[in-house]
Structure formats: C-alpha cells, structure tokens
C-alpha cells in the first residue's frame, strides 16, 4: 500500500489499543477509506438515489462503530526504510531520525507486534481473529467491494467528473450494473465502467436544460494551455530559501505560481475533501429548488473568477509571439530565439516567476494575417481604414472587420469546437472593433483583438460548461 497515503491519513504507527496508556487506533484513514474512497456516507440504491428511513431522511451507510473496527485493521504498519530495522516513528520507538522511504510500500512492523488481530465486525461482515496485518487489509477490501454502496457511490463520482453533475437515475443504473458485473462476472472493472459512462446515450445528449457541468479552474487552465500547444520551459528551482542552491527542472509544468490565485494548486487541496464539495448546491433557484448539484461552482468566488481571467490575460501577454513580434517591433528586445533553452535563460525562468509554461500563439496571428492581408507576413496592412499605419486612433476597415468575424469563427472552432451561439459572437465582434481602434500601433491592435477574443471565449459558458 502507498506510503504517502498512509502517512497523510496518519495510520503509520497506529497501534492496537493500550488501556494502560489510554491509547486507541487512529481512525482517520478508516473513516476516509469508507466515506471518501469507497462506500460514501449515505445508503444508496443502485440508481444513485438515497434510501430514506420512515421519516424520509437519509440513513448513514456506516456507523462510528464501523470506523473504530476498521481502524483496528490498519494497525501495526510502518514506513519501509533503507535501514530495515529502524522504521520512522517516534511512537513505536523513541527514535527521531531515520532514512525512511515514501517510494516503497509500507510494511507490517516487526512481524505484526502492534497489529490488533482480534476478530472484527465491519458493515455487518466479520474478519476472523488471528490474521496478519496484510490479511486483515485484504479482508477489509473484500468487505468494501462486496458492499452494495460501492457501485453507486463510485459511479456517481466518476460521472460527475467526466460527464455531468446530475445524472438521471436511469443513467446511473446502467453504469452501476456494469460496475457490478462487467459481463464476465467481475465487479469493479473500471475500464468497462468508464466506457459505459462515456458511450452511454445520455452522455451524448445535450438537450436537457439540467444536463452538463462547469469545469474547474485547473482543468480550464490545462485545456487552454493544451489548445495552445504548451511546452514546459526549463525552470531554475531553488532547493532552499536561503541556501542559494539551485537545480534545473526540465519537462515539468510548474503550476504553483500561476494557480494559487484562484485557489487550485495541484496536490494542495485544502483538506481531504478536495477543492470542492460533491454536494454543493449553488444559491440560485434553478439549482436550489430541485436540489441539483454543481460541485465545481463552489470554486467560483468573486476573487477566484477574476484571478482566473487575469491569469489568462497575463499568460497571453507573455508568450513568445508577443515577445518576438510586439516587443521587438517596439524596440524592447531585438533578439529572437531558436530553442527553448535559450528562451528560458533569457527570460530567467525560476520557480517564482510566471513564465515556466511556454505557449506560442504565432500560428493564430499568422492565420489572422492571412485573413487580413492574404499572406502570413504579420504586417496587417489592410486592417485599418485609411492609409496611415501608425499614429492616431484607427477605425477598422471593412476588410479588417470581416477578418475579425472570421477570426472569431476560427478561434471558436479551435477552443470550443464551434459551439458558441451566434449572439455571443456578434457581441464579441462589436466589442473587438472598439478594442482595436483604441490603439495606434498595428501590432498592439492585433494583440488586443486576439487577446481579448481568446479571453472572452474562455470566460463564456461555451468554453466553461461541459456538455
């Protein structure tokens, strides 16, 4: 079993109960194994609906007693160590420093010295006495897998992440029945389950007004970056704040400085409940009247939403195209680069500045240039009305306006698959005319148009809502 999980959910060195010391096994992992990772909180039917009691209230699937019993299973484990005799853990032995491994699986300590091998009853099933820590763990997993709740709970979460926030009971039933039996008598075949989730007719039918989900910021970011063929720049990483010692990370996407502002930093969820609650119901009649959930909306705080928009804004302003064609034209830096390492060195990419991700929008500008001038020379000669190209504020020529309309269609196809409603596109086009005309430098006009267009498409429901 994975050492990092065992440590994070604190059952390393959890021992069987000791009445003289007044200690009892650690219940952290036992609870989350059931609540978060397998059977959930409430009793469910196979179609995902809650089983209600005589007062029409949901009933818990596990009790505190189940948690205590499960906690006894996860006793007597230790981190493996390159030095086998000295596992991490001040509670087993009073030793403070070890070389212990988070890469190797955990192991049962000292032949199970601290393992509680008494018989246990969990969720109505028994685990016999006299088993080793490993055997107990296997039995516990068997019991969870056999439980009727695991199908609906796991399938609900998978559907929520992959397709829609509110699957119909019919959709749920179909998926759960594959989870429970993949056709060859196996329960828990995730490959078959996911295939069913993605190919089920409900996953492809967007006609219902309550169908779909909004994407979380982290995934919106990766989608945006992938759309622009992102590459990782070599990043200089300081190994200690004051030590001055550095190493260079290659082929690593350094997200932390970028994403902390909208509160989704990879691997840094604020709690074991992840970044948002699966039960979140937005404070809007269309959701709260009928109890429809929209978990990812919990992230959309005032601050988070603006931070995400601004992230896109600044990311676009710092890509290679801008650096080479805009700054260059304005005399900021005449050099162009032929490879990423030179680019990275020149930009002094470190773990704390914002340019560890490399995108290059040149192809989009070349497309725009083609629409405006019929060539890829990036001169945009026919963008403006009148003949002067620099100085004063410019209105777009008819040719320029037509090019903008086509550019929007192109970008919409590129980012959303072409689903943006015409009304939105019309509004965006009008907005872009006035955004462009405020600049008196051709390249700035072009970047205003492209930058605003990309950002507006990304902030719109066409991009943010997954259907």
């Amino acid at each position: 079993m994975n050492a990092t999980m065992a440590d994070y959910l604190t059952f390393i060195a959890s021992s069987k109960a000791d009445s003289t010391k007044g200690t009892a096994p650690d219940e952290n992992y036992a609870r989350e194994l059931m609540q978060l990772f397998s059977i959930g909180l409430y009793k469910l039917n196979d179609d995902g609906t809650k089983i209600l009691d005589d007062n029409d209230l949901p009933t818990p699937i596990y009790t505190q007693e189940d948690v205590s019993q499960m906690a006894r299973v996860f006793t007597g484990w230790a981190l493996s160590s390159t030095n086998y005799d000295k596992p991490k853990n001040a509670k087993y032995e009073n030793i403070q420093t070890y070389m212990h491994s988070y890469i190797m699986d955990i192991r049962s300590f000292n032949g199970g010295e601290f393992h509680d091998d008494g018989n246990k009853t969990i969720l109505g099933e028994t685990i016999d006495a006299g088993l080793s820590a490993e055997e107990d763990m296997d039995r516990a997993i068997e019991i969870l897998m056999a439980n009727s709740n695991i199908g609906p709970h796991v399938c609900r979460e998978l559907i929520n992440r992959l397709v829609t926030s509110n699957p119909t009971p019919e959709y749920m039933s179909d998926v759960v029945s594959i989870f429970n039996d993949n056709g060859s008598g196996e329960k828990g075949d995730l490959k078959a389950t996911i295939r069913e989730i993605l190919t089920h007719w409900e996953a492809r039918d967007t006609s219902s007004d309550t169908y779909g989900k909004v994407d979380e910021f982290m995934l919106l970011t990766t989608h945006y970056l992938s759309s622009l063929n992102v590459k990782a720049l070599p990043v200089v990483y300081y190994t200690g704040t004051h030590s001055g010692v550095t190493t260079t990370m290659e082929d690593t996407y350094w997200f932390t400085p970028e994403t902390q502002y909208y509160y989704q930093v990879p691997l840094e969820a604020p709690s074991v409940f992840n970044f948002y609650s699966p039960e979140y119901v937005p404070n809007d009649a269309s959701f709260s009247d009928t109890g429809l959930v929209a978990p990812e909306f919990e992230l959309r705080t005032y601050n988070g939403l603006i931070a995400f928009s601004n992230y896109i804004h600044f990311n676009l302003a710092q890509d290679r195209f801008v650096y080479e064609h805009v700054d260059t034209v304005l005399g900021a830096n005449p050099t162009t680069f032929t490879n990423m390492t030179d680019w990275a060195e020149n930009k002094s990419i470190t773990q704390t500045n914002y340019q560890g991700l490399y995108i290059n929008t040149t192809s989009i500008y070349k497309k725009f240039s083609m629409l405006v001038d019929g060539n890829e020379s990036l001169e945009f000669k026919n963008l403006n009305a009148g003949t002067e190209q620099q100085g004063g504020e410019k209105a777009l020529s008819d040719n320029g306006k037509e090019a903008v309309v086509k550019l929007i269609n192109y970008l919409d196809n590129h980012f959303t698959g072409g689903i943006m409603p015409q009304e939105y596109k019309d509004k965006l086009v009008l907005h872009l005319y006035t955004t462009a005309s405020s600049r008196n430098v051709i390249m700035r006009q072009a970047t205003n148009i492209v930058g605003t267009a990309i950002k507006a498409i990304i902030m719109s429901p066409s991009y943010m809502v997954i259907k």
């Binding site: 029409d56 601050n303 603006i306 205003n448 902030m459 809502v465």
Partner: protein
C-alpha cells in the same frame, strides 16, 4: 419532480427556513419580499469570526490555575503549562504571575501591553524584534512553551481558575482592560449532555465527533443532529435579512467558508490585497466587464449551467467596478508593506512598529518574539485582519453604506498532533499580536464599540499528550472581544472544570476528551442579540439553541443564552 417530492424535500430544510423565506427562497421570489424580511438599521455593527482551523489546544492557551491544575499537569507532563515559576532547585516559588501587577508587564496609557525595550525583561515577555536576541538557554523553546500563564482574576481579586498563556500578554492586557472575556469549556452540542447520559445513550451527541471535516461543517452550520444538506448559520442570517447593498452581509478574508453558505446568499470571498479587478486590454467602447455582462442577456440560453455561469460573471463584474473605486480610500496601517504614509502614525503594535507589521522570520526577526523559531509568525492572519479593518472603514462610505457586516478570518495550523511546542507557540503569539493590532486599529478609527470578535474552532484537543502533541478533542475555550460598553469584558464565563482526569465526569473516551458544558449557540446568541437579531430569526439561525433552555424558565428562549455577557 412532483409536488409531493418537492414538499418532502423542503421538509428537510424545515428547521432552517422561516415561513417567509421558505416561500421566497423556494420560488425564487426572495427579492420581491425584501420589504418583509430586510432589517433597517441606523447604526453600524460588525462581527468578526476568528476561526482557529484545526482544533486549537485552548486547554493550553487558557490553562488551568485552580483545583484542576495538578491533574492537568500530571496528564499533560512535558506539554503542561507551569502554574508558578520554579527556582534554581526546580521548586515552585510563590506565585509571581499577577495580572494586575505593574512590575509584571508594561502597559501604555491606553492599557495595552507594550514590550519594554532593552532593559531587564520580565522572564517571558517577548523581546524587541529589532535588537539582537539575548535569550539564554532557559528560554529555550520547550521551557518557553510551558513557562506559565497570567492568572486571570475576578472583580473581587480571587482567581477565576483559568490563565492566559505566557506568550499572549496582549490578550492578557485586553482582559485586564475589560474588553476581552473568556468562555470556558465550550463546544459543539445538540443538547446538554453528561458522561452518564452519553453512556446510556439517553442524549444525542453530534455525529462524527473528532473528525475535522464533519466538525468544521457543524461549527459552521450549527445544525448538528439534522440530516440533509446543511447551510451556514451566517448564511441563514443573510438569507433572512436580505441586505440590499452590493456587499451583502458576509465577507470572508479567510477563504471560502461554509459559515456563509445560505440558501439564497453565499457571501463574498475576497483576497487580502484589496479587491481584485479584471485586467483587460484598452478599449474605446465597453469594458471587458460590460462584455461579460452582455453575454448574460442572451434570451436563447436555457441550460442552467450556461445561465448560472453568466450570472456569476455578471455579478462579479459589477462588484468589481464598485469596489475598485472605494478601496483607494482605505486606511493605510503598516508602512513597511505599502511604503505609503500611515493614516494613524501615533498608534503602534506592542513592539512600537506600525499596526499589522508582519514578523515572518527573516534574518532580523529570527529567534525573536520571545520564542525560538526560525520561521517567525505566519503572516496570513495579519493580512486578513488588516484587510478586515480596512474594509470596515471603507464600508462606511456612502457608496457602500453598510450597516451590518459579518467578517470571517481563519488562522490555519492548529492541528498539532506533533511538534506542538513550536507550532502552538507561534500560533498563540500571532493570535495575541493580531487581535491586539486589530483592536488598536478599531480604536484608531473610533470604532471599537461597533465591532465584536468571537473565536471559533472545531474542537479542543485531548488531555492525553501523545509525546509531542495532542489529538482531536471536543470541548475547548472561546474568547470574545468588544469595546461596546454594554459588553461585560474582563470575565470568565461558563464552567471552569474541577475534574480533568481520565476517569472523571468530564472525560469522554479513553483519551480524555473533555465534554463541553456550554454550547457554541449559547455564546453566539447574546452576541447576535447585540447585533440586532430578533428571536424568531434567531431560531432559524441557531436551531438547536432552544435545547439549552433553563428547565426552570423554559418559556423564555433567552434562558438558553449564556447569562450576563451583555448588560
């Protein structure tokens, strides 16, 4: 969904929706009936929820000084705060720690603690962070953590039985000044319980005790014992009051909090650098905000996710423009941070530095502040409190004209299963300095009578010491701060327990988690009454409150309130 299912579902929320709001919220008519639920206040009041996330070991923050001391020390051993100073033989001397003694700590003319600079320091007073540290080995981290406490006293001079930890002289001075009170042994309860009644299951106790996620949800919602979706207590208040200005009732600087999630309101979560606004390209026409708003005017949109995305975009855009203007006029406190002129240059923190100065553990401040630490104090709580003070001030401007506000700040890191000496020392120092800075900011702005701070934590910690830390407990202590003359500060409320033993009447489970004797609702209720919450709305905001009525006075819901907190 048919009507029967609809009503059944509403039944789940029965305890939490007023008859008016139930109709309004459920049918989306909340806006139309604001004239019935909105509260019109002529004065300004604010509550600040000071959340200590992770379960603060308040047993050590306000350690016992009375009859339970010996048991406490024998269980807590190396993590037990000393009662008296020890002499060179390791023997207890007579009590030297006296809250009211002048030679004990210095106070300024406003009765606030000030760290004296340079000269003979009383034994654990935090030292001047600007000067080279002269801590000798006796002041090592471990010894510092258990050095002692300020023994709080009653009006007649007798000890209350609780102390204030040595690392919190600013809190002690606020107690002494009469603006801070402690509430002993509080926690999450559904109804009053005793150990015997829990054992024979004749009372309900909160579900999933000792689990962070669940207890954090319960302390935010105060709906222990109720199944179904829960809502935040302050969110329910906002649902009822339907505040009309663009800020609404609830503002968080501590991240998203369930406390503010109502059924029709969700509060504002803001960053501490001031309200952010949309960056955009220069335009001759409409702003980027206007463009986002215009998307929401598409009559063709029917999908609820599309519509709500647009709605949130539009609302954010609107607020963004409102706030950007007023924030420019917000008061400047810590010049180190802003390089601007302070608005209140004569008012400093207890070290003589500007208010809200951050001591983050760079070369200058390492190993200072009266505790050995390489890490200094986590700056985030200072940033949140400073932003709160600024927002309180700008909310008074005509553009915003707020009358009632609830703020939420959050200090993380209290889950001290290990390394408690280091972590908890720094947390307590930050609480003391931060609360003091905040109170002084209020005084500077002339608003100390209008704001009430109330502490919150999902649980206290176990009596049992696991070696270098403590585990999830149940009961813990709380504190309230207010300069309002009707608030009775300088007191200890609630039950100061005499028996803290493993086998005693207050210990639950074999780790000796202390059973609370006062529920969170009982402290919140008088504070909310001060805030202007009427009893019918109080019943929805605090649904379990009625379970704590005095059986001899059960007609009167106010018999459930903690008594005497306000005159």
């Amino acid at each position: 969904m048919n009507r029967r299912d609809f009503i059944k579902k509403m039944g789940l929320y029965a305890a939490t929706i007023s008859p008016i709001a139930r109709i309004g919220g459920a049918l989306g008519l909340a806006g139309a009936i604001t004239s019935l639920s909105a509260q019109d206040f002529s004065d300004y009041k604010a509550i600040v929820i000071f959340d200590m996330d992770g379960g603060n070991d308040t047993m050590n923050m306000f350690p016992p000084t009375g009859t339970s001391y010996d048991t406490y020390k024998s269980i807590r051993t190396n993590l037990g705060v000393e009662l008296y100073e020890k002499d060179e033989n390791g023997e207890y001397t007579t009590e030297k720690i006296d809250l009211y003694s002048d030679d004990f700590y210095n106070v300024d003319t406003n009765q606030h603690f000030t760290a004296s600079l340079g000269v003979d320091q009383p034994y654990f007073v935090p030292l001047d962070p600007k000067k080279p540290d002269v801590i000798d080995t006796e002041y090592g981290k471990e010894a510092m953590y258990i050095k002692g406490s300020y023994h709080t006293k009653k009006a007649d001079g007798a000890k209350t039985g609780l102390g204030i930890h040595a690392l919190m002289p600013e809190i002690a001075s606020l107690y002494n000044k009469g603006v801070l009170s402690i509430v002993s042994n509080t926690g999450i309860l559904i109804e009053p319980v005793t150990k015997a009644k829990i054992a024979d299951k004749s009372v309900q106790i909160p579900e999933f005790l000792f689990s962070h996620g669940n207890q954090r949800e319960l302390i935010a919602t105060l709906q222990a014992g109720q199944a179904g979706n829960k809502s935040g207590w302050a969110g329910r208040l906002a649902d009822n009051w339907q505040i009309n200005n663009s800020l609404g009732l609830n503002i968080s600087y501590g991240g998203n909090t369930k406390t503010f999630m109502g059924l029709s309101t969700s509060g504002l979560t803001m960053g501490t650098n001031g309200p952010t606004s949309y960056s955009s390209y220069h335009t001759m026409g409409d702003s980027f905000e206007e463009l986002l708003k215009s998307f929401s005017e598409d009559p063709e949109d029917t999908n609820i996710f599309d519509k709500f995305t647009n709605k949130v975009n539009a609302k954010t855009a609107e607020l963004s423009s409102d706030l950007a203007t007023v924030w420019e006029d917000s008061p400047v406190f810590a010049t180190k941070k802003y390089d601007e002129e302070e608005d209140y240059p004569d008012i400093n923190n207890s070290y003589g530095d500007p208010l809200f100065t951050q001591y983050t553990g760079n070369e200058e401040t390492r190993e200072n502040l009266g505790i050995r630490t390489h890490h200094g104090l986590d700056k985030r709580i200072f940033e949140q409190l400073e932003a709160t003070a600024k927002m309180i001030k700008v909310s008074q401007t005509e553009a915003l004209s707020a009358k009632r506000q609830i703020f939420y700040v959050r200090q993380g890191g209290h889950d001290v299963h290990g390394n408690q000496v280091d972590s908890h020392s720094r947390l307590m120092r930050a609480i003391s300095l931060g609360i003091s800075d905040f109170y002084k900011a209020l005084e500077a702005m002339g608003m100390e009578e209008d704001v009430l701070i109330i502490s919150s934590s999902e649980f206290g910690r176990t009596m049992r010491n696991n070696g270098d830390g403590t585990d999830h407990g149940w009961g813990g202590h709380s504190f309230i701060v207010s300069g309002d003359p009707t608030f009775n500060g300088g007191k200890v409320y609630g039950d100061v327990l005499e028996d803290l033993g493993f086998e005693g009447i207050n210990a639950y489970t074999n780790r000796a988690r202390i059973i609370p004797t006062t529920a969170t609702e009982q402290i919140l209720a008088p504070a909310l009454k001060w805030f202007g919450v009427t009893n019918n709305i109080m019943a929805e905001v605090l649904p379990n409150l009625e379970n704590f009525r005095d059986p001899d006075n059960s007609e009167n819901v106010e018999s459930a309130f903690l008594q005497g907190v306000f005159s």
